[in-house]
């Protein structure tokens, strides 16, 4: 039985800049994996490679043994990976309900069943009462919540959350963390969370992968990673270590 997602030596250049170099990563079913690293570490690039928005220059990405290294985003979604974006990409002129229906239409061709499924998920993620609000009129926290709902509507096996909690107030962040926990607990999805805020990722993740300058620095349980000298250096810089 192959792992849910296998990233094998993924390398991606943008001109002379190496965004990812030989990054390997495995995600098992039902696991929450945190992908962390300072700004510019290559987290979003890796996400884009996995979700098909970009294609790696070399290396392989497999979903349950199927090679998706060169697949287009819509095919990756059909195969079972759904994602959200760092900069929200909700359908602004459509209502919350219509946004989620668009996601639910991935698994059916009929609007009726998609409508019913969308209402269920809107209730599940706590957007009930805002069905008829145009997405452009939501708060940032609700827009991010809507993206998660829309992604869930495509019935994925793996959910990729790109900074789903950044830019939120502490209360909103706590609510978002709770939502991710509920998705994991009640829907049993594997989730990969990109964040640069350590305080959010550490308590949430079963396992943490640290990227720095495009390379994998280390990975392991959150408690171990947080004590890792290299991680501290990457986040805080040499000066802090020198001062002790």
């Amino acid at each position: 039985m192959p792992a849910l997602l296998e990233v094998e030596a993924c390398t991606k250049h943008f001109g002379g800049l190496v965004a990812n170099r030989d990054v390997s990563l495995v995600i098992e079913p039902g696991e929450i994996v945190g992908l962390i690293g300072p700004n510019g570490a290559g987290k979003t690039t890796l996400f884009n490679c996995i979700s098909g928005a970009l294609h790696p220059d070399s290396g392989r990405i497999r979903l349950q043994g199927v090679d998706i290294s060169r697949a287009r985003p819509e095919r990756v979604c059909r195969l079972g990976i759904a994602r959200t974006w760092q900069v929200v990409r909700s359908f602004g002129r459509m209502t919350v309900l219509e946004n989620v229906i668009c996601g639910a239409l991935r698994r059916t061709n009929r609007v009726g069943p998609a409508h019913a499924r969308a209402l269920e998920l809107i209730a599940f993620t706590g957007l009930a009462g805002k069905e008829d609000t145009p997405a452009a009129g939501l708060t940032l926290a609700d827009k991010k919540r809507l993206e998660i709902t829309r992604a869930l509507a495509t019935s994925p096996r793996l959910l990729l959350l790109d900074e789903a909690m950044s830019g939120l107030t502490p209360i909103e962040t706590a609510a978002a963390v709770e939502l991710v926990r509920r998705i994991h607990r009640e829907l049993g999805l594997a989730i990969c969370v990109v964040e640069h805020v350590m305080e959010v990722v550490m308590p949430l993740s079963h396992r943490v992968v640290v990227l720095d300058h495009g390379e994998k620095l280390t990975e392991g349980p959150p408690a171990e990673v947080a004590r890792d000298e290299r991680v501290i250096t990457a986040y805080l810089g040499d000066r802090y270590r020198a001062r002790g």
Partner: protein, 351 residues
């Protein structure tokens, strides 16, 4: 999504309004037929034709959000295909219409797929380029007789029913007949566009419009749905072209590829309300009679030949576009209707 009619009195008022509108549309040409002012039948014909084309353009421009500045190439392919089928093979007009729609959709799919990689202004430029390429082809291709054009036989007899079945009318009844032919095609277009709007297509078109990456991320093949949207538009433009060629009894490249077949449907959609099913219809009802009226009154007399009619026409469009950039349908019609009925609406009604 278009709300179904709200229950109660407002719903009944809406139903009454629809029935009245349908009656007006059906009865409109009768007084002109009686009194002999058949010119107004032609105005009605042009309103319906442009409304239909506007609905077609709205699918790609309003729902899928890809501005197409060359839809009239499918008006032309439709007119030419039907004319050729009718002249060389003696096909019945309705059969020729079906053939013209199929041919135009195939051509549209073939030429549109490559340009769906483009978006925004670049897509728009590519559609203009297609139109520019179509013009010399239309003017020189021997199969369609180049700039000498194709001529359809003039009907020699037959009554109203025969005319409706063959799109051939002899003598006085022509204005009336073509008004009703246009009404039939218009009604079919509205019905089809409404069905598309409420189906998966309607949702996916708007998703691609609002955020293409977002749409692809939830499994929507944006290129495929752009092609589908433009093919639906092409089908409607082809049907319009067929109607036009049997009306004009001739197909000339500079007539069917005339820029107004691009601009009027587009303006009707924008003035009435981009992305709303009835937007182009309202726009067409306003713009076409103004343009015809201006030409009929100001195009003659002391000011003739100075383009005063076109200047005023342009000014009207600029006024509406500047005052209501989201189109006239974005005005709070429901609130006004409720006030007219003498009560506040129980809840804001969405359309």
């Amino acid at each position: 999504m278009a709300a179904s009619s709200p229950p109660g009195r407002a719903g009944r008022a809406q139903q009454v309004a629809w029935v009245l509108a349908a009656l007006v549309a059906i009865l409109y040409p009768i007084p002109f037929e009686q009194s002999g002012y058949v010119y107004y039948e032609t105005v009605g014909f042009l309103v319906l034709l442009n409304a239909m084309l506007g609905i077609g353009w709205n699918i790609i421009g309003g729902w899928a959000g890809q501005f197409d500045f060359g839809p009239n190439i499918f008006f032309a392919t439709g007119a030419y295909t039907a004319a050729l089928l009718s002249i060389h093979f003696g096909w019945n007009a309705w059969l020729a219409l079906l053939g013209a729609v199929v041919v135009s959709v195939i051509i549209c799919a073939a030429v549109t797929y490559p340009i769906t990689r483009l978006r925004g202004h670049y897509f728009a430029i590519a559609t203009v380029a297609m139109w520019m390429i179509a013009q010399p082809i239309g003017a020189t291709w021997e199969l369609i007789n180049g700039s000498r054009g194709l001529f359809l036989p003039v009907a020699t007899g037959g009554g109203f029913v025969h005319g409706m079945l063959t799109m051939e009318f002899a003598g006085r009844g022509k204005g009336l007949g073509f008004y009703y032919l246009a009404l039939v095609l218009f009604a079919l277009t509205v019905w089809g566009a409404r069905a598309a709007e409420r189906s998966k297509l309607g949702f996916y078109f708007r998703a691609v419009r609002d955020d293409q990456e977002g749409a692809e991320g939830i499994g929507i093949d944006s290129r495929l749905y752009k092609v589908i949207a433009r093919c639906l538009m092409a089908a409607i433009f082809a049907a319009g072209g067929v109607l036009y060629c049997f009306w004009a009894l001739a197909v000339f490249p500079d007539q069917v590829l005339e820029v107004n077949w691009n601009i009027l449907p587009m303006m009707a959609a924008v003035v009435g309300g981009l992305g709303r099913l009835w937007g182009p219809v309202l726009g067409s009802i306003i713009l076409i009679p103004i343009s015809q009226l201006m030409t009929a009154t100001l195009g003659a007399g002391p000011l003739a030949g100075r383009g005063i009619d076109l200047i005023i026409y342009g000014a009207v469009i600029m006024l509406i576009a500047g005052w209501r950039p989201n189109g006239l349908l974005s005005l709070p019609w429901e609130r006004w209707a409720a006030r007219l009925l003498g009560r506040a609406p129980a809840q804001p009604v969405k359309s």
